[in-house]
Subunit: 371 residues, 2 copies
């Protein structure tokens, strides 16, 4: 299975499949980029070639996401996990409060760091139902004057996704969003966000680089003395070059943006992602061998979670799928079962192949499951 070059269908939740055209370009550029006689990883982060790459990656990011002039684009290292503390460190003062949606592990990791810096209020939580849904508007209780309201737009592990943004946040507060696993998978109105960030390794590039897009006034509100490397403003002012960045990551993210544009932009990405996930969800809704984890209305287009009738069958499923060239389908250890991650670069052929495999597997094991 896979294509003629020996590649398989890679359902990894991240680091995840990248566009093959981007990988082919990178093969050339790591030895000699732009006829410079020097590979992309060997160029100074302050030299002309990398100046151009930085400018292009920023411009492409702005074009792809229709990022308004009010917002700065930059990147940092340390993964989205580092943003768990950098967000409150930069934005929240002693005696101030931030509101957080608790919708899964990544939300939880962020929530854990807030008390180091200020007050925490959980405005809604899906924990009682094992994070199988996005909180309904009626279940949300904001605090009186939060500085910001933080949410995770897609929950990679459980496979839930916001359809839009939280509504009705208190006046004077702004939205902060961890969009690591669905950024640039569809058009969004960046103007509605104070800060949106994403680890690159799902829709944007390799691991080791985090994209941040922030409204300029938000960058200036740091309430305390912080190490220079923790200050958002330093990184924003230098467009990610306050210190030596992950230069290869900046380059590759730029190539992915270029690929998104060539494919038709975020509108085209949204259509393809909708179509891919519909192939699998339609099948899941048509049968009763597999049980989906996420509730209808909260289902992620990026990560589809489901399980077999027994845990033993889950194991057999992932093993046999692997042999058939459908790789990395094991669910996260927190909820087990299976997880099919299909980000921008994942082809629809893989979704059809998965459903084909699911059908035969169910057919083959239906009697065993009933026994």
């Amino acid at each position: 299975m896979g294509d003629m070059s020996g590649r398989v269908f890679n359902f990894s939740a991240g680091p995840a499949a990248l566009p093959e055209a981007v990988l082919r370009q990178a093969q050339r550029d790591i030895f000699n980029i732009a006829d410079s006689g020097i590979g992309i990883m060997e160029h100074s982060h302050r030299g002309k070639v990398f100046d151009r790459i930085t400018d292009e990656t920023e411009a492409l990011c702005r074009e792809v996401g229709s990022v308004p002039d009010s917002h700065k684009i930059f990147w940092m290292m340390g993964g989205a996990t580092s943003q768990c503390y950098m967000v409150p460190a930069n934005l929240l003062g002693d005696g101030q409060t931030a509101d957080y949606f608790n919708t899964g592990k990544w939300a939880g990791d962020s929530i854990r760091e807030v008390p180091l810096y200020g007050g925490l209020h959980i405005c809604a939580s899906s924990e009682p139902t094992n994070h199988d849904r996005i909180p309904a508007p009626g279940d949300v209780r904001y605090s009186d004057r939060p500085v910001y309201v933080q949410f995770t737009s897609n929950n990679t592990i459980v496979g839930t996704e916001w359809r839009g943004e939280p509504e009705g946040i208190p006046d004077g507060s702004f939205l902060v969003c961890d969009a690591s696993s669905n950024i640039y998978s569809r058009p969004i109105d960046i103007g509605r966000y104070g800060l949106i960030y994403a680890g690159a390794q799902k829709n944007l590039g390799p691991s080791g680089i985090t994209l941040l897009i922030a409204r300029e006034d938000v960058l200036g509100i740091s309430p305390r003395k912080l190490p220079e490397m923790v200050h958002y403003k330093n990184h924003a002012d230098w467009v990610g070059r306050f210190n030596t960045p992950n230069t290869f990551g900046v380059y590759l993210m730029g190539e992915v943006f270029r690929w998104i544009l060539a494919e038709g932009g975020l509108g085209a990405m949204a259509e393809k992602n909708e179509a891919k996930s519909k192939v699998v969800y339609d099948f899941l809704d048509s049968q009763d061998f597999y049980t989906p984890h996420a509730r209808e209305g909260s289902r992620s287009r990026m990560n589809i979670t489901f399980r077999c009738p027994t845990g033993a069958l889950d194991t057999v499923f992932t093993q046999e799928a692997e042999k058939a060239g459908l790789c990395n389908l094991a669910g996260h250890r927190m909820i087990k079962g299976m997880r099919a991650s299909m980000y921008n670069a994942f082809p629809i052929e893989g979704a059809h192949a998965l459903v084909g495999f699911m059908k035969s597997f169910a057919h083959e094991h239906a009697s065993a499951a009933r026994a």
Copy 2:
């Protein structure tokens, strides 16, 4: 100039030249590594292929550097610059003091962060002579009971390098070393260090990954509540996988270690680096057109700094050198002039080519300089 594949001599101070054999291997592995049907950047950081890469990179790092069992090996993101605050955040308590050698910009960046966490004592400084030398033992005054003594083993910008480690540090303290620009360029006794760290982009791999080697008892002394991502112990316990690491960086660092071993290990690296720098220093000492910046006895084998009789000639030099395929020779903006960086992967042919160019340039411009 350069080799038949169109590559030039790249004197970049970092990100810097990588071994061509490693780049060739990476070209293959980014599309499909180990016949997995998946490229190295697309593999889950918790999957079998990356498990093996993590294990191998760690084992190769230990073998290359003869790292004793007392020391843990791991990696982080954020560059060596993030270590400026992470070192005192992890190791220094309120009311405790750390001693720092002030030998250049990177030392200065570290020194700046210390007061956020504890007491700072400058045990020696080369600032009065524009950092043209490593402090002599007689000029060092340690504080009474420092927790640790920090030094920068090679100063990339000014081109000075320690021959060994600082001697006679107070009982009970340990050495912390920023070895970003000369790690694994020669054998050192890692057992003498409490903590040694290095950004990878000079001798070890691409930018965006920092290697840390720490004595196990040092990792446990964190004196305060820190964000989880700042705690050394988390990263050490997970061998760099506490969160999603720069997976491509881990892979490439492993390939560089493999290349170092194939070339004969750190002994062979030391000989080659000594020979390369001797080619240029011998020439510098034989003429009076160019003025070297670093004093004899403190000269770096990695970064050779010198200048022409005038600043205008410096500019002409770097421009004409670039046309001749000798690239990235402009000195750092802090000291200007020229800087020839020749890390492990830089070939001795480049050192000879540089001296050849320096000779003709001096010959051509000698009268202009006298005028």
